[in-house]
């Protein structure tokens, strides 16, 4: 007996020595493994940091833009034009429209450039020689349209001289911000030598100054006038689509989650629906775009590029996300609450609508907002239903042609004027991310607020 015990004791000490021998190596491995984990975390955080810093550092300058302060004289000699037509009694709407168009055309034919040029010539330093084309190249081409619109809105401007803050052209903006290499020769510069010199002189004497780029937020996209290109149209397009997603995806998603979780019998069919929904959530978004192109556009003949079609595609895409999240929220409600409600004689739907839904409301709301935010950032499916069209007007209904914020980013990214649009695109990304972050922040805020109230 004691012999055996001595033996085990000896064996134990032997083992003990072996354990000791391996300790240093094992602790080294432990340290390495832990370091690898920490490295991974640091890398992941580093990616977030790099992504945000590059985008912000590229995008911030685009929120500042060069303006030219000038006094524009609405010269009656240049602007000789009949007053705008008014609809006569008995005239059909169509005739009136035709007449209006004719007037508009006449209006557009006026030499608005001359107005712009005259106002700039007033500002030229004494003795500065520059030809018209070069002089006009420092102003964005959209500004003559702006003068025209000012005049249409207020015909009494005729003959007056008013101060106008005109957008400097994108080339001037590049030149002053140094986004284009100043050392390059004439051949590679977008602006002619006198125009560059003028821009510098104007910048020095304060005629050209940097101001907040309102155009970025309030204007629609523009091809001919990059400096006036803005996100307003894309924003409205996205807004319409989001409204459609909110109106359709949220109620339908919550309703089907309620059905599947609270009413549906556990059968093969519900199992199949569950697998189907989980799978739909993982189907590539571009496949939804194909569905939209084939069904909504080609079969139902919905208008191409319309937020309606885009909204429907995004609705179908967001549905599974909302269903899954809502089901998870419903699953989290303790069974005892259900039994308590049913035990008091409540019917199944009374139980759901009076007891379960109020409890899960904060989570459902959060899930919906996050789903909607995801839809806001989606690009690929929208390309397939023509939402990458160039749209120069703010859409006024979901049936109008429109584009969306992420698609606008895609379009700007492809613009040839890289010097100017790289910053603008980053700025657009900042706007998009800002919107998404605020949506998420609202979701988090609402959840904490509603849960505290309970």
């Amino acid at each position: 007996m004691s012999d055996l015990s001595n033996q085990t004791k000896a064996a134990g000490e032997d083992r003990h020595a072996l354990v000791r021998k391996g300790l240093a190596r094992r602790h080294r491995t432990e340290w390495l493994f832990r370091a690898a984990g920490l490295t991974a975390v640091i890398l992941a955080l580093g990616f977030v940091a790099i992504l945000f810093t590059t985008i912000v550092s590229k995008g911030l300058p685009a929120f500042q833009q060069a303006y030219i302060s000038a006094n524009v004289q609405f010269d009656p000699e240049l602007l000789n034009l009949d007053p705008a037509p008014e609809r006569q009694a008995g005239q059909s709407q169509a005739d009136f429209q035709a007449q209006s168009f004719a007037w508009q055309r006449e209006l557009a034919m006026l030499n608005w450039n001359a107005l712009v040029e005259a106002s700039l010539r007033d500002l030229l330093p004494i003795g500065f020689e520059i030809d018209s084309r070069q002089l006009l190249s420092i102003v964005e081409t959209s500004e003559r349209h702006r003068l025209r619109e000012m005049f249409v809105a207020d015909p009494s401007l005729l003959g007056q001289t008013v101060p106008v803050e005109m957008l400097a052209s994108a080339n001037v903006d590049n030149w002053l911000k140094g986004t284009i290499n100043r050392e390059l020769g004439d051949a590679q510069q977008q602006l002619s030598a006198p125009a560059r010199q003028l821009a510098d002189e104007f910048y020095e004497n304060g005629v050209i100054h940097m101001g907040f780029a309102w155009a970025l937020l309030t204007n629609v996209d523009s091809r001919s006038a990059p400096a006036s290109a803005g996100l307003a149209g894309a924003f409205m397009g996205s807004l319409y689509m989001l409204l459609i997603v909110i109106v359709l995806a949220v109620p339908i998603g919550v309703a089907s989650a309620i059905y599947l979780e609270e009413f549906a019998p556990k059968s093969r069919l519900t199992d199949f629906i569950e697998v189907n929904i989980n799978n739909l959530a993982a189907v590539p978004s571009i496949v939804f775009g194909l569905l939209g192109a084939a069904v909504f556009i080609n079969y139902f003949r919905l208008p191409l590029s319309a937020p309606l079609a885009g909204g429907l595609v995004l609705t179908l895409m967001t549905l599974p996300t909302i269903i899954i999240a809502t089901r998870a929220a419903l699953k989290g409600v303790p069974q005892s609450l259900r039994q308590a409600a049913l035990g008091l004689g409540a019917s199944r739907s009374q139980m759901v609508f009076h007891h379960i839904l109020p409890v899960t409301f904060p989570s459902i709301l959060t899930a919906s907002i996050i789903g909607v935010a995801q839809a806001l950032g989606e690009t690929a499916p929208l390309l397939l239903i023509g939402m990458n069209a160039f749209v120069a007007q703010i859409p006024t209904s979901p049936m109008d042609q429109a584009t969306a914020l992420p698609v606008q980013i895609f379009l700007w990214n492809g613009n040839e004027n890289r010097n100017f649009f790289e910053a603008r695109t980053s700025a657009a990304i900042m706007v998009l991310l800002g919107l998404m972050i605020s949506l998420n922040a609202i979701a988090i805020f609402l959840r904490t607020y509603l849960e505290r109230k309970k």
Binding site: L4, T8, R15, H16, L18, V19, G22, L23, R26
Partner: protein, 287 residues
């Protein structure tokens, strides 16, 4: 840090005494002349989970090569104390242990002590059988492998077979050593866990209610096994069953509300408890 706290524990002890005069903190001890010598001792151990104190100033000697049972109502701190012995409480965030636990005079809470080495010397068997999702062989081989105890494959096989034999499981599983350990019955799983613990060659085995998830027959087999093992191992077992404590242990310690109320030879505790609360518990008045 430990040193500081230990030196303070005397002060604290008197403070607790005055505050808690009615429920006297003095552990009632019945010495056992036949007891084996103790290599494992606890001295003034207190445990805190965050701000909450779970264990108050526990001191006890654990005799070697015998079974010591920790009994008491649930939540009394007996499991907490058990988990202090091989520092399993380290894995719980916010858990703080003060006082000394020594094995062969070495403080287990000494900063220089390697917890990995400690746990190789003090093994543990848990409440619910927790075989790894691996084969029976791999389950037992796990410890020797990580500690590098086997020089070669035959060595490893020998350790596995011996451990399974010691745990009385070998005959039942010898023809399916490579099927998953989770496929065994509850009692077999628990014996597998015991074999797994023994494969590392510990000196002390801690058992945390090892039979609470088992049926009576499996329990009886494990109890027999514990009785056999005590000739070679120091065993500390936490149990909520007084009969089990009476059947398997030589020494019994009764915990109540985080305090060690009474300890002594099992026979003495069960037949002649000196403390009122021990008596109440044993006769079923508190539980």
């Amino acid at each position: 840090m430990n040193q500081v706290l230990t030196s303070r524990s005397a002060l604290e002890m008197s403070a607790t005494h005055s505050k808690d005069a009615l429920a006297s903190h003095q552990t009632v001890r019945t010495p056992d002349p036949d007891a084996h010598p103790s290599r494992l001792r606890a001295d003034g151990v207190s445990v805190f989970y965050g701000d909450k104190q779970a264990l108050f100033d526990v001191s006890i000697d654990i005799p070697e090569k015998s079974v010591s049972a920790l009994i008491g109502p649930s939540g009394c701190g007996k499991s907490t104390f058990l988990r202090c012995i091989n520092r399993m409480n380290d894995t719980i965030e916010g858990c703080k242990v003060t006082g000394d636990i020594t094995l062969d005079g070495q403080n287990l809470y000494d900063g220089n002590l390697d917890v990995v080495e400690l746990r190789a010397r003090i093994g543990m068997v848990f409440q619910k059988p927790n075989p790894f999702p691996k084969s029976i062989f791999e389950n037992v081989a796990y410890g020797p492998k990580i500690h590098g105890l086997a020089r070669n494959k035959t060595d490893l096989e020998e350790i596995v077979v011996t451990s399974l034999q010691k745990a009385g499981l070998f005959e039942e599983v010898k023809d399916r050593l490579h099927s998953p350990g989770t496929g065994l019955s509850g009692g077999q799983q628990q014996r597998l866990c015991i074999a797994r613990a023994m494969a590392v060659g510990p000196e002390v085995i801690l058992m945390d209610e090892p039979c609470s998830a088992l049926d009576p027959i499996a329990t009886a087999i494990i109890e027999e096994l514990i009785d056999e093992l005590r000739s070679n191992y120091t065993i500390v077992i936490v149990t909520h069953s007084m009969q089990q404590a009476a059947r398997v242990s030589q020494k019994t310690a009764f915990f109540h509300l985080g305090k060690l109320i009474e300890e002594g030879p099992t026979e003495a505790i069960f037949t002649n408890p000196r403390e009122k609360r021990t008596q109440d518990y044993i006769t079923g008045r508190i539980g």
